[in-house]
Symmetry: none
Subunit: 191 residues, 4 copies
DNA sequence: CATGAATGAGCTTTCATTCAT
DNA sequence: GATGAATGAAAGCTCATTCAT
């Protein structure tokens, strides 16, 4: 008698997530072309064929990983923060703090940031991304309040997220990277 | 009408350089695995076989490109600057200025920076690179002089060059990127 | 409530026969290479693994199906008929009648004929098959009696069975095929 | 200096035709699933990769072969014959003669007939094929003239072409098959 | 020298077979 | 016994490399 339907579905879901998670690190580090399915399978600890039970092709797996890399979490937090009746300085400090925490605690976060940025890089207009736009709002508030350096807000937002990417990327390659401090991020925008 | 030996050799050298230059952009953008010899040849405007008249293999071509990406120029300038009897602030301003100028004038410079950083990322200890060490010296001088923010000098050097990489990378993907201003770089280190 | 040994054995035998019957249609239609175990299992309505409880391999299943496709029934009938003291015309009419009846009544018969012929096709010497030899005997009798057209008896036997195959094959693909009439078969040999 | 454009194109065309021709025999004999690209390449005497320079996939190669198998030649001849002011008997004799000649002289003709019939078998309504319709016209003429046996004309057309297929199929497997005589075909329709 | 068609090693993908449940 | 997810051997396919022209 086979497992129950629910158990079965759960196992399938778990495996799918496992493949996505463990593959994303490889793809983020080495890119599509330098990632071999055989390596991936070995790394995940499953047979090559198993990957194809969950994804139609290497490309589909890669695409799903890239599509998952959206950073909706940070975007939502930015949106909430944006509307709070506090100074931009406080908002920026909160988001910097949040990012530093997640980068040190959650291995996947760095992968997500890395993939997201690589996706953005290949887009025509990076600056049209909501993450940038929302960050720019807070930056403009800060500029009015005098706590944020002058200059194009989107450009500064890009500088900020670029440095987050930079740190995340380094983390993928170095296990001994010293933790990112929120002050480093804050200073990028400080007046 | 046979050309002279010198002309002939010149043509060979020119072709070699042409292949190196035009390939490096591809490799910097897409990495080794995602760069196909057929695409490369089409992009350069030569036959696939021609590449193999000048390079033994794709790997050798890639290696040579990576080895060229050493940024000895900047290193040398840093070394010279380092010893000059001027303030660190001035030194940093000079190097920032130099970098911004080269990034806007010389397409290849961005490629070089990108590849160099990618090489560094894969090394065990990024911070042992001479470029970082030399930059750190100037930073320490600035910290003594009070013009540079406190903190680990290598960490700050890394921040500085990381942002140069970031800008160079973006330039490889966007043709309409606004020029980098030296102040953006300077601010990373300012006290 | 455990079933008795006999019941148990019967169930096993039934399943075995079910797999054989339902697989044979697939193999006859699409051949070995174009028949997937997964399709087979879905078509039979069992799990893939179940097939392997009854057959060691796809090849063994296929072989057993081919070996079953021997048409010993018709051969035996031909042998009996052959010795009866009646005209060849009568004998041929009887066998044609028999074939038409079985083709319309017994779905499996068409599958059997199809597979048998495909086996024969791949043999070096089709004409050495007993079915052909026995048919040729009756044909020769008919030629002496003047009721069968002149010509090489084995060639005519082949023509006769070839047309039976043709009709059987069509039946595997078309559900609306009009029934084969014995006269069509008889005419192939008639003087 | 490379070959001229024309030579080059000619070589490409020749290779394409060579692959199509030599593959069609394999596909006609063994079907899609039992034909391996590696076997095909070995049989043609080229590298496996070469096939992919001319065809996107095994499936595309197979499809093109099946689409080429149209027997437009015979159809055209039938159409011309159909309108000639001669007896159906003469027409049938001419077409039978033509078929026998091509089957013995042109190896490819048997392959074409085999593939064409296999394509027709998998269609919903075989009888709607023009080849059958045109043949049926002549058969009806013959029935009026009394030279062709009574019965559904399409059914008889199918019998006729079925026997051509049968002979062609045998020819793919046996090198020593005795030539088909036009009388064998004519007799299928004779009154 | 330059070319691009041809090659085959090595990748991606499929599918017969196994096995934990 | 029955299942279908997991496996890996073998098939399809790609692309770095070679070579005849």
């Amino acid at each position: 008698m086979p497992k129950t339907k629910e158990q079965c579905q759960k196992m399938r879901d778990d495996m799918r997530v496992k493949i996505l998670k463990m593959s994303s690190l490889y793809f983020a580090r080495y890119g599509f072309g330098d990632t071999k399915i055989s390596d991936l399978a070995k790394h995940i600890g499953i047979g090559q064929g198993t990957i194809y039970l969950y994804f139609k092709s290497k490309e589909e797996l890669f695409d799903e990983i890239r599509n998952n890399a959206d950073n909706k979490d940070d975007l939502m937090k930015l949106k909430v923060l944006s509307k709070l009746p506090v100074s931009a300085k406080t908002k920026i400090d909160k988001i910097s703090n949040e990012i530093c925490k997640k980068l040190s605690e959650d291995e996947e976060y760095a992968v997500k940031i890395t993939l997201l940025t690589q996706v953005l890089l290949e887009k025509e207009d990076m600056y049209s991304d909501d993450l940038y736009k929302e960050m720019a709002k807070i930056i403009r508030q800060g500029q009015k309040e005098g706590s944020v350096v002058k200059g194009d807000a989107l450009y500064l937002a890009d500088l900020y997220w670029g440095n987050v990417y930079l740190y995340a990327l380094k983390g993928l390659f170095s296990a001994t990277l010293k933790p990112l401090k929120k002050d480093t991020l804050n200073r990028l925008l400080e007046a």
